[in-house]
């Protein structure tokens, strides 16, 4: 069965979230999924547009949704912050007639409600039957004990992020990791915020939030953290400071790529700040 999605990469997938972009495209290719990048897409505005920009908070992401209309299929969004902004704008376009007309006039496209923003993790955990994924498995992730980390905006607020997993106690990422042969560790910090939006201007606060999460992951018996957001990954990977034993932080698509035996994905592990290769070699998952 062929699947096809509109694709909104977001700004970080070409920079700090480089491994996420490469692994997302590689995994989708391997699973026979087509990603059609939205032509001339723009930044969603992130935290800054809703902090200072007023209407920009919905107007900037709304442009991307209008540009995606002719594609007529769900929009796959790898970044949790982009997903939150596009979902908020989509709701506004559906419910606020004046806003929709204004956006249609500025962008010169019509809104037909045909390109629903969806988190990439939602797509990966909802649209593929387990048997289908299992058929692609080349290397079970035996010995890997990840904690699943969703962060803030993949599931909050539920009225906007939708109900594709439980808001306070999500489980779908754990199930996917089990299917890949890993043994997810249970913890209660899956949806606690890592503070990424302050990482440039208040590194001191962010280091405390990240330190708390990594300690909780250690206490849970985990040997790595899995994320589905480029801001969470960059923040958790880059802000562990001088911890004696820093913990590797993976994108879910990197672990999929590893389990599917995709060399272009495993070749990027050396670009993490906390090098995950010693752990993977110790477990016999990487040569």
């Amino acid at each position: 069965m062929s699947r096809s999605y509109a694709f909104y990469p977001g700004c970080t997938l070409h920079s700090t979230g480089l491994e996420y972009g490469v692994s997302t495209r590689a995994v989708c290719r391997a699973l026979g999924v087509e990603l059609v990048e939205i032509e001339d897409w723009n930044c969603c505005g992130a935290s800054s547009a809703h902090s200072l920009g007023g209407e920009l908070a919905d107007a900037l992401p709304a442009r991307n949704i209008l540009l995606a209309q002719p594609l007529g299929r769900d929009i796959a969004i790898p970044c949790a912050a982009c997903y939150g902004r596009l979902s908020s704008a989509d709701r506004r376009l559906r419910e606020d007639e004046a806003f929709r007309q204004q956006m249609e006039q500025v962008i010169g496209r019509e809104y037909a409600g045909q390109a629903r923003p969806r988190a990439l993790l939602d797509i990966l955990t909802s649209d593929f039957p387990p048997e289908e994924l299992r058929a692609h498995l080349r290397k079970p992730l035996t010995g890997l004990r990840p904690v699943s980390y969703y962060g803030c905006l993949l599931l909050r607020p539920p009225q906007i992020a939708g109900a594709w997993d439980d808001t306070e106690h999500p489980v779908k990422l754990d199930r996917l990791l089990e299917l890949l042969g890993a043994e997810p560790s249970r913890w209660t910090y899956a949806t606690d915020c890592c503070g990424a939006s302050m990482t440039l201007n208040r590194g001191d606060i962010v280091a405390r939030l990240v330190g708390r999460l990594v300690s909780a992951a250690e206490d849970a018996g985990a040997n790595c953290i899995v994320t589905a957001c480029p801001l969470c990954q960059a923040n958790l990977d880059g802000r562990q400071g001088r911890r004696p034993q820093p913990m590797p932080v993976f994108y879910v698509t990197e672990l999929l790529g590893l389990a599917l035996g995709l060399d272009e994905v495993t070749g990027l592990f050396g670009r993490h700040i906390v090098d995950p290769r010693p752990l993977l070699r110790r477990l016999g998952l990487l040569s």
Binding site: C11, H14, S15, T16, L18, D40, W41, N42, C43, G45, A46, S47, S48, A49, H50, S51, L52, G53, G54, E55, L56, A57, A59, L60, R63, G84, Q102, V106, I107, C152, L153, R156, P157, P158, T167, T191, D192, C193, G195, A196, S197, M198, L200, N201, R202, G203, I205, L209, G238, R239, R271, H272, I273
Partner: protein, 188 residues
Amino acid sequence: MSSPIDWRFMDIVAERSGQPIATCYQCRKCTAGCPTAFVMDYDPAQIVHMVQMGERRALLSSQAIWMCVGCETCGTRCPNGICVGRINDALRQMAAEEGVRVGAPAIYQFHRAFLNNLRRFGRVHEITMIVEYKLRSLDLLSNLDLGARLLLARKLPPLPQVIRRRQEIARLFEAAGAHAAETPEGRE
């Protein structure tokens, strides 16, 4: 502490934020779940109460309204459907418009640098955005080690990606009006 009470303040903030502020009965779940309450001069439940009590001046110049990371925990858990994050956004915009001395200048300057960069290219380019942020905030020495490691890992592209129809972005900024514009405070 005595400060002049502005009795219209709650209605204005409720209107701008779209939040039913009057329904708060101080259960404090927002504060219990807030990841940054520990660095705020007023915690989230206090912010809501102060809006109800018309404490305009104290709130607009507070540091707390800038410490919110927009994680949506408060709004998700509030029994009355109040998202303190949206209230903080409204208060930040009022503070910027009214030219009060903002309580967390570095965070304010970061958001300005981010929006300027977005407006210039249509997408955000880290290196030029960070340079503008550092010049605006004079926070010159932070994060140099992390920046160097990201450069070494070739994760900070030297050149921006520029979208083709930037005029549409300019029009969205214009349509957003006063809050999106540079304030006198921001220009100094």
